[in-house]
Amino acid sequence: MTGPTMRPWLQRLTLTRSGTPQPSPVAFELDGHAVEGREGDTVLSAVLALGVALRHTEYRGQPRAGFCFMGACQDCWMQTIDGKRLRACSTPLQAGMRLVTQVSMTGIPKDPA
């Protein structure tokens, strides 16, 4: 993955549940790279587990990686490759999602490197 060295902020617990299968991996795309999350992840959890900032602020270009996890702070809005916006902490991760963290001033996602 391009960009600064990653620092994953989220570590998933291994669930030990007798008789129930472990949650499966969920394939999605982040900045053009094929990556994986886990069944049950929100978009926020999946991106935090990869150690990548979700977005950069409009005014100062500062990286942000969510804050409140409960849909209050509005700091985790991300874009999909076709320009749709979603609030990462309240959006379940779906297989095949194509997400971008780098968005140009026109609001149109930059071509992934």
Partner: protein, 478 residues
């Protein structure tokens, strides 16, 4: 004609309100933003991440289960609208954004005869420099990650701030084997002795608290009180938090390495819907916050609008259950339906202990007295609009503004997506300090619709053209 009662929020308060209304033969609408009931405290993980109630809710497992099961039994008797976000209240009309199965948002309006607002609370955060860095989260976030996502923030995590949640979440993490580097309480050590008499209104909670603190010490987690947070330090390579610099009660400076920082100073009520509904607010010295005015049963100043749970006043989940039932009783009375005086009296009696306890929790959650004074000019106070403490102070000086909405108009503080949820406690304190006036004299941010961001397309703006297509790469100019 059956009156339409709408309940906003399917947490403990909303669920008990619904239960009481159903018992009276009504069919309330219950709206909630999440896909499952429980609010935040009894938030349920998605199906693939289910765990036993004991693992999820610890001491509160029985209460959580009761609330969830009650809701399950209510389902056939209510009009349940999950994934529905109330974004405006206009008189008797509610504007709601509902997320469909395909992810599309649908805007809908409905009128109410009675409205019970059980909107809960968020973290109250007094910022420290570096709080916007990736890796810094709220205490609530750390708890939600564990509960709803079966995941720990970290790996090395520092918990800091004030209030009971600080210790509770740190302990929950330590129990899971997380690397809890420190628990840093900005409240002076003397506070817990000061509040002990009020805390004795709920002795079982005192025991739980003592157990939690003892467990942390047994696990060799460093716990400090009377702390002052100085700065979350940035790792330039990863542009994320790498340490927290802080001062202990004796004035010595420390730097604790970490990968994540969980920060919070108690809770703040979500009162935007009450504001838009026209409810009168008053300043509460204990909470140091403006809250909607209610009578003893939860009636607001607006006929037909009721308030219950942490969204009205932070008293915790158990109080929320009682307040929800009580607000429903008030609504029923006002709809000329019979409610036994004894029932109302018992609920009020049960709430008394929680009211006393609330005072203790508020004191424990108080931010540092000198927070405003100590905040450096380059501290980013408004996360959304990136407004610094220095900019606020300069504006106060240049314009003589003594009221929060005026400060907002000049600096954009509170104008961003979060509409002041994260910054207004800080902004209010900075303005009060800058103008040397009491906190209750700077006013409060007026709520504006939408309560949360709403896509214009859902409001019909894009209807004629359909969704805009992305500009093809060859035609872009960026």
């Amino acid at each position: 004609m059956t009156p339409r009662v709408v309940i906003i929020g399917a947490g403990p308060a909303g669920i008990r309100a619904a239960e009481r209304l159903v018992r009276a033969g009504l069919r309330p609408v219950v709206m909630d933003e999440a896909s499952q009931c429980g609010g935040q405290i009894y938030r349920q993980p998605p199906e693939p991440l289910r765990r036993p109630a004991q693992a999820l809710y610890g001491f509160e497992a029985a209460r959580a289960t009761s609330v969830h099961q009650t809701f399950g039994a209510l389902r056939p008797h209510i009009d349940y609208r999950p994934l529905s976000s109330l974004w405006h209240v206009e008189g008797r009309t509610l504007h709601v954004l509902q997320t469909q199965e395909d992810g599309q948002a649908l805007n809908e309006s409905m009128t109410f005869d009675a409205l019970i607002l059980a909107t809960g609370a968020t973290e109250r955060v007094l910022p420290c420099p570096g709080w916007t860095l990736p890796g810094v989260f709220t205490l609530g976030a750390a708890q939600i990650s564990l509960k709803a996502q079966a995941a720990l923030l970290g790996p090395r995590i520092v918990f800091a701030g004030t209030g009971p949640l600080l210790y509770l979440v740190a302990w929950q993490y330590a129990k899971q084997g997380a690397r809890v580097m420190a628990v840093l309480d900005e409240s002076p050590a003397t506070t817990r002795w000061k509040i002990l008499p009020a805390m004795m209104a709920r002795p079982s909670v005192v025991l739980k608290a003592a157990w939690i603190v003892a467990s942390l010490r047994l696990a060799s987690v460093p716990v400090h009180q009377g702390v002052r947070l100085i700065r979350a330090e940035e790792d330039a390579t990863t542009q994320s938090v790498q340490a927290l610099t802080w001062q202990d009660g004796q004035g010595h400076t420390h730097t604790t390495a970490c990968d994540a920082l969980a920060l919070g100073h108690g809770l703040r009520s979500e009162s935007q819907a009450a504001d838009l509904a026209g409810c009168a607010f008053e300043f509460h010295p204990v909470e140091q916050a403006w809250l909607p005015r209610t009578d003893a049963l939860g009636r607001s100043s607006v006929a037909g609008v009721y308030l219950a749970g942490d969204g009205a006043q932070v008293r915790g989940a158990d109080a929320a259950e009682l307040a929800g039932a009580l607000a429903a009783c008030a609504a029923l009375e006002d709809l000329s339906l019979d409610v036994a005086t004894q029932e109302i009296a018992s609920l009020q009696q049960a709430l008394r202990a929680h009211d006393t306890f609330r005072v203790a929790m508020s004191q424990l959650s108080e931010p540092r007295q000198n927070w405003a004074q100590e905040a450096p000019d380059d501290l980013v106070v408004c996360r959304c609009e990136e407004v610094t403490a220095g900019a606020l102070r300069q504006c106060a000086k240049d314009t003589g503004a003594v009221e929060l909405n005026r400060l907002k108009a000049f600096t954009r503080i509170g104008m961003g997506r979060c509409q002041g949820r994260m910054c207004s406690p800080a902004a209010a304190r900075l303005l009060a300090h800058a103008q040397q006036i009491p906190l209750n004299k700077v006013g409060r941010l007026r709520s504006q619709p939408p309560i949360k961001p709403v896509p214009l397309q859902a409001l019909g703006a894009g209807r004629s053209g359909g969704s805009a297509s992305v500009v093809p790469p060859g035609e872009r100019d960026d």
